[in-house]
């Protein structure tokens, strides 16, 4: 197999380094999108607790409400921090995505290992003109990558770019 490249000695200092790549942030709107999602998400427990609290107030509801407030506050605090940690980078041969504040991950998928790509837009994403780019590799769903909150147009371009690159290796 491909002996020609396997035998090449690579000087470690000449390796392309992922640390030195410049990463790109999502549009600021993505934060608003996350906030709206959070509002929708938390409105359910708020209603579930709030309505009985008005009809038949009880002391335990205050405790639960307190915990709820803490969680909601944490959610909203984490949105801008999480936003700052979220970024992607495109190189000639791969795509890298970083995310996470308390648990951070960086994942890189080489284009020659991509099976197919997909763009999805939910109703809320559509409101903010955002798109999610999904990238699939072979062998189950574990190695899939999904990049939410991309400019709709940019997602389209990214997908084109990735698909074109991936097609070379088909």
């Amino acid at each position: 197999m491909e002996e020609d490249w396997l035998n090449q000695e690579v000087n470690r200092t000449e390796l392309p380094l992922i640390e030195e790549v410049s990463f790109q942030k999502h549009p600021i709107r993505y934060m608003s999108y996350r906030r709206l999602i959070a509002v929708i998400f938390w409105s359910i427990p708020i209603l579930a607790l709030g309505i009985p609290a008005i009809i038949a107030p009880d002391i335990w509801m205050a405790y639960v409400g307190g915990v709820l407030v803490v969680f909601i506050a944490l959610t909203f605090i984490s949105i801008p921090i999480g936003y700052r940690k979220r970024s992607y980078a495109l190189r000639e041969r791969d795509l890298t995505y970083k995310k996470g504040w308390i648990f951070s991950t960086m994942i890189t998928i080489p284009f020659n290992r991509i099976q197919h790509t997909e763009i999805s837009r939910g109703p809320i994403e559509r409101k903010y003109e955002l798109s999610t780019l999904k990238i699939y590799t072979a062998g189950g769903s574990t190695s899939d990558l999904s990049i939410p909150g991309l400019e709709a147009e940019e997602a389209e371009q990214l997908k084109e770019f990735v698909a074109k690159k991936a097609a070379i290796y088909e």
């Binding site: 491909e2 998928i109 072979a138």
Partner: protein
Amino acid sequence: MSEEIKEWDIHQPTRQSYLGVIVYMLRNFRALITLLISFVAVAAAAPIFWTIVGIAIIPLMILFALLAYWQYRNFTFHVEGDNLIIHQGVLVKDRKSVPIDRIQSIQVTKNVIQRLLGLVALKVDTAGSRGNELEIPALERERADALRDLLYEKKEALLDSQSATNDPAEEEDSTPRPKVAQREEEGRVLVKLGLFDLLKVGLTENHLKTGFIAIAFVFGYASQYQELLTEYLEGYVDTYASQVANAGITLVISMLIFYALVSVVISLVRTLLRFYDLKAVLKSEAVEISTGLLQRNESRIPKKKIQYIQWETNPLRRSVGYESATIKTSNSMGEVANKQAIEIPALRLESSDYLANGVFPGAQKPEEYIQGDPWAYARLYAIFGTIIFAPVAFLLFWHFSYPGISALLLIGLFAAYGYRYGKTVRIHFDEKYVYILRGWLFPRRVVLPSFKAQSLQLSQNIILKRRKLGHLTFYTAAGSKTVRFLKESEALNVYNSLLYAVEKHEGSWM
């Protein structure tokens, strides 16, 4: 019969062996019995159920037998152009078509019934398409072999013609593809298990694990019929409960012995069923394994499809000079990864090396490794230990005052084990392979060709980030492998080097 097979035209829709009716019939009867059993709980409550069953059973059996006949009649297979076509179904007619060049592997298996009838099942696995595994459950042996060879031959011809039209630089192999005749080659027998070997394998299984599996199985099964059981057993339970209280320690000990015995027996039986007459042969292009007592499987794993091999052993098994190897192949989408793992339970060390070198030419046993941080493991285990033992120590302190606190020593012991374990977590890579080692009592070793990685991930939590440590995960088409608590700089070095290896690689990797 062989005359018939020689003259058989694959392009004509062909039925299976007429004995297939029996295969289908028994399958249907089994489904019927399962159905009836699931009604047993109802039956206990409503005796009229038995009357209904008694009246209905004969017509039902006739119906299921007729169904079997129609299943047999409507099942045909043939090749049309570059596709394998299967027609089947009684009420809902179904036509399945598989592009032959997408076929990943073809397996020949037989269970007890098929063996008694002299039939085999042919299973065709394709990649990337969910639910597209085909099974032809009742074929004569000769026809199955003929069909398998024919499909392989056609697949190779198709791939050849495809690569001929493609850019030659993208050709995945420089060597010519093996022709069917070459598959008849002898190969080297890696292992052939006799009864005595099976005994050794059975006795050196990880009994703790089989015990747990058995218990989980029994409980899972019993809980289905719990209502029924409690109803019958209610009378006994009270007396039993008082005995439990009296017998105390004796009971616990006898339970432990019972557990151990049951685990060993189950291990032996499982081993016998799974690995009876196991034979593994290493050929130039593939590994061939046949194994099993009641359900006999013959699989051929093309070397190119092997994603990685994992060797495992335990102190017992090592003492008889064996280790086990699990061969992981690319799995079709959505399938359970373990289904695609083929285990060779007992390899002598030299066969083990032979397998490694045969499948992964140039793989060595590296001497230098990048180490995980053992102190990070110690901390992790200390945290686990605290969660488990701190409440225990508190309870003991409550009851027995200060001596109870000695339970806290267990946390230290846990941490020490973590440190010892962490010391064994190592990774090495060269131009071709990644070697991952871990485990102290149960050492585990993985060899993974670097170009088989599909994506890489570095994960850190906020504490690890400050300590400049991280976990590195390799995703392959056969699942992922993670190495924990590497130094960030070293992990990034592996990350960059492997990406380079993957991106430089041309051609197929699955």
